[in-house]
């Protein structure tokens, strides 16, 4: 699976690179590849763009529940919950992680807009919950502090 994907990616990159002729452009092609997969994006803006979120509004109808101080950065419980109607998608971003796009939950029929999951965090950062309601994106964030040394503060 991985090998196949790798081959496919390389092929796509070489094809675009060859078509446009310069080494610089193959860099752009690489960026395009990243765009297709938000999980590979390395900055928050890129990840948001790759996920197709051009603008999002902060909303008080969304709550992101996470500890103020994470005792174990490898297991940070996060809950995103929204009272908005017609929620089709919930995405969770961790701003300072090497790959900020952490997870995406596509909600099917009858499911409530509430998701709990656990994440790893590299360092203190904002946890951002983005909820798609109708055609618009709404967001809320919560700062989580990560302590090193494991004393738990």
């Amino acid at each position: 699976m991985k090998r196949r994907k790798f081959l496919k990616n390389t092929l796509a990159i070489t094809a675009t690179g060859a078509a446009l002729g310069t080494g610089l452009v193959s860099g752009t092609a690489l960026a395009k590849e990243e765009k297709a997969n938000p999980f590979k994006a390395t900055s928050l803006e890129e990840a948001l763009k790759a996920a197709g979120i051009t603008e999002h509004e902060e909303s008080d109808k969304i709550t992101v529940k996470a500890p103020d101080l994470a005792e174990n950065a490898a297991v940070v419980p996060v809950e995103v919950n929204s009272s908005l109607e017609d929620v089709s998608e919930i995405r969770i971003f961790i701003a300072e992680n090497p790959t900020p796009h952490a997870a995406n939950f596509a909600m099917g029929e009858g499911s409530e807009a509430i998701v709990k999951c656990r994440f790893k965090m590299g360092k203190s950062s904002d946890v951002i919950g983005v909820v798609k309601s109708g055609d618009k994106y709404y967001s809320a964030k919560k700062a989580v502090k990560v302590t090193k040394g494991g004393c738990g503060g």
């Binding site: 490898a74 790959t99 099917g108 499911s111 409530e112 709990k116 965090m121």
Partner: protein
């Protein structure tokens, strides 16, 4: 690879809402960690989780490597007792796992 991944699923109904909780035992490696010799350990994580109730998809989750080890997930949906909830996952090395439970 004959590694065993245990998938545990719990379902509970209350006032017309069914709460689904699941834990999969999986290492969820990010691809950023290194072993003792300094070689990168390749990424190994669950990419997709599909939860269905009576064969209707209630949620599809796409995960990145940022999800913690032995991932836990919890969600609610409007359901009733007697529903059959199924969870199926696939990781980036094509391992698969699933679990099924009937709502009491």
């Amino acid at each position: 690879m004959a590694k065993k991944f245990k998938t545990r699923l719990k379902v509970k109904e209350k006032d017309g809402r069914v709460n689904v909780k699941a834990i999969v035992s999986h290492p969820m490696l990010t691809g950023l960690t290194k072993d003792k010799k300094g070689n990168k350990i390749p990424e190994f994580f669950i990419q997709e989780v599909v939860i269905t109730a009576n064969d209707t998809v209630i949620m599809t989750a796409n995960w990145g490597p940022a999800v913690s080890k032995d991932p836990y997930i919890s969600l609610d949906y409007a359901g009733k007792s007697g529903d059959v909830v199924k969870l199926a996952w696939t990781d980036n090395q094509d391992n698969k796992g699933e679990a099924e439970k009937k709502v009491k």
